[in-house]
């Protein structure tokens, strides 16, 4: 095995183990931390496949931004253990098993048909995955989906602001309700 292949195996194993720990671990904060570890090892796998830009963005967006907010909420609620019981947890378990089986089946199918090329077998071109290539693709071929995505994000942002502002009582001056604190 070459160095890159060895690194691929190490980070792949790390990704699998940390993803399992996300599901298996009882403490939500620990689960979230394993998810961060998973994202970082996924970023490292992108690096071994020569998609440097994607790897770094993976870490910045998922591990650096999204998971910090997740963790923020988890800590704020201070959930030590999963307290839900009864129908809801049964439903969630059932759905989880179903999804897990589906994903496993899909993976087996892909491997069986040889659609997934496997670890670092076909070396990507040297410039592939770099910022330049991604930028050109985003602003030419995928411009429409890119713009649609930004619109969706904008809608979500406006929605979040509307929710946090709260409902103003009729006749109350603007900014009377839900106006404490800064944007955090």
């Amino acid at each position: 095995v070459t160095l890159v292949q060895a690194l691929f195996l190490v980070f792949g194993a790390l990704l699998v183990v940390s993803s399992l720990m996300v599901v298996v671990h009882r403490n939500p904060v620990t689960s979230a931390l394993f998810l961060v570890l998973g994202f970082v090892s996924l970023g490292a796998i992108y690096l071994t496949l020569r998609a440097e830009f994607l790897g770094m963005v993976q870490i910045i967006v998922y591990a650096g931004a999204i998971m910090v907010l997740f963790l923020f909420v988890l800590m704020y609620l201070n959930l030590q253990h999963d307290v839900e019981t009864g129908v809801q947890i049964a439903l969630r378990r059932g759905l989880g098993w179903l999804m897990g089986v589906l994903v496993l089946g899909l993976g087996a199918l892909l491997l069986g048909r040889g659609w997934a090329s496997g670890p670092a077998s076909a070396a990507a071109p040297a410039t592939h995955g770099n910022a330049h290539e991604v930028g050109i693709a985003l602003y030419s071929r995928y411009l429409f989906p890119f713009e649609i995505t930004s619109m969706v994000l904008l809608v979500a942002m406006v929605g979040a602001i509307v929710i946090t502002r709260g409902r103003r009582a009729p006749g109350a001056p603007p900014g009377a309700a839900g106006d404490e604190g800064g944007a955090s």
Binding site: E52, M56, I59, V68
Partner: protein, 341 residues
């Protein structure tokens, strides 16, 4: 052995490890004396002398401090989450160290030059939040938790402006490699008869100011040291930490300062570029510029009072963020306009 030595993979790993060890040891020395400098400068700014008892001019003070830290009693708060409590201090140091791997110290002196160096720095600074957040949460103490939450909010807010401020130099250089960005600043410009260095700070003054302000916030330095505001939060996120674990947070803060100053020098102040010195010695220019910025950090700390929390959020979201977006827009338009069609 000879076969192993001729393996290019092995050589690559071996030299990388040598460079990492050298830089790590050098950094430990620099950090301990940076703390000494900070105390001395603080002393003289307040008409005191600063540490002057241990060794000549107090120069052995850092050694004494470190020895003291190692011999302190290790205290672990009850009901704290042990594993995370122990991992958090390490997380404070690791991102800063990883950033050093892409810092272009000199034309020949750099651990590695990757074509996404700038993104690596941004990724590492975004991971830096975890140390403080996790330390605050796992300590199981009100003060720590509040400090940790404050710091998450602060770092998320200022990260955006920092990332956007780096886009200005990026557009000018046209590369994400830090070495490439430094090389793009090596030519001299002529304003009339006066030659000036082509540093990006002259083209991107707004971005430079935004970057330095956000750098203060990202490293939790005064006037943005709310996460550890001692008047309200005792010690903030590291209230429950003692001995060398506390020392690691301290180490992380100063390493972050050095790393972020190094990035600022590479992005805005021309990196290793400077007159007089031959190629191998250009690293001296880099070090000198980094120390000038570090002095600025210390100067600001002992000059300005701490911001209030709402002022902090207003500054981040309502001033720095719009300013950095406008800066990108203007830069992009000017570059497009000046491009030969």
């Amino acid at each position: 052995m000879a076969a192993l030595w001729s393996n290019p993979d092995f050589q690559f790993v071996f030299w990388a490890i040598v460079k990492i060890v050298v830089i790590l040891l050098a950094l430990l020395g620099v950090v301990s004396y940076l703390i000494y400098v900070e105390r001395k400068v603080a002393g003289h700014m307040q008409a005191r002398t600063g540490p002057n008892r241990v060794g000549p001019l107090g120069l052995l003070q850092p050694v004494a401090d470190i020895l003291k830290l190692f011999f302190k009693e290790e205290f672990i708060a009850q009901h704290s989450n042990r594993v995370i409590y122990h991992v958090a201090p390490a997380l404070a140091v690791i991102p800063a160290l990883v950033t050093f791997s892409v810092l272009p110290l000199g034309p020949l002196v750099t651990v590695t030059d990757i074509n996404v160096g700038l993104l690596l720095f941004l990724a590492m600074s975004s991971l830096g939040v975890y140390a403080i957040t996790l330390a605050g949460w796992s300590s199981n103490s009100k003060y720590s938790l509040l400090g940790g939450l404050r710091s998450s909010a602060q770092m998320i807010s200022y990260e955006l402006s920092m990332g956007l401020a780096t886009i200005g130099p990026l557009l000018l250089a046209g590369t994400l490699s830090l070495t490439g960005i430094v090389e793009a600043q090596s030519r001299m410009l002529h304003v009339g008869p006066v030659p000036i260095p082509g540093w990006f700070v002259f083209f991107q003054p707004v971005a430079f100011v935004i970057f330095m302000i956000t750098a203060l916030a990202e490293t939790n330095r005064a006037p943005f040291d709310l996460p550890e505001g001692e008047a309200e939060l005792v010690g903030g996120f590291h209230t429950e930490y003692s001995s060398m674990k506390w020392g690691l947070f301290f180490l992380g803060e100063y390493m972050n300062m050095i790393a972020i100053s190094g990035i600022a020098v590479a992005l805005f102040l021309g990196g290793w570029n400077g007159p007089f010195l031959p190629e191998p010695l250009k690293v001296v220019w880099f070090v000198a510029k980094v120390f000038a910025l570090l002095f600025g950090f210390i100067w600001i700390r002992w000059t300005y009072p701490r911001l209030r929390y709402d002022q902090l959020m207003n500054l981040g979201w309502k001033v720095l963020l719009p300013a950095s977006i406008v800066n990108i827009l203007v830069t992009a338009v000017v570059i497009y306009w000046r491009q030969p069609s």
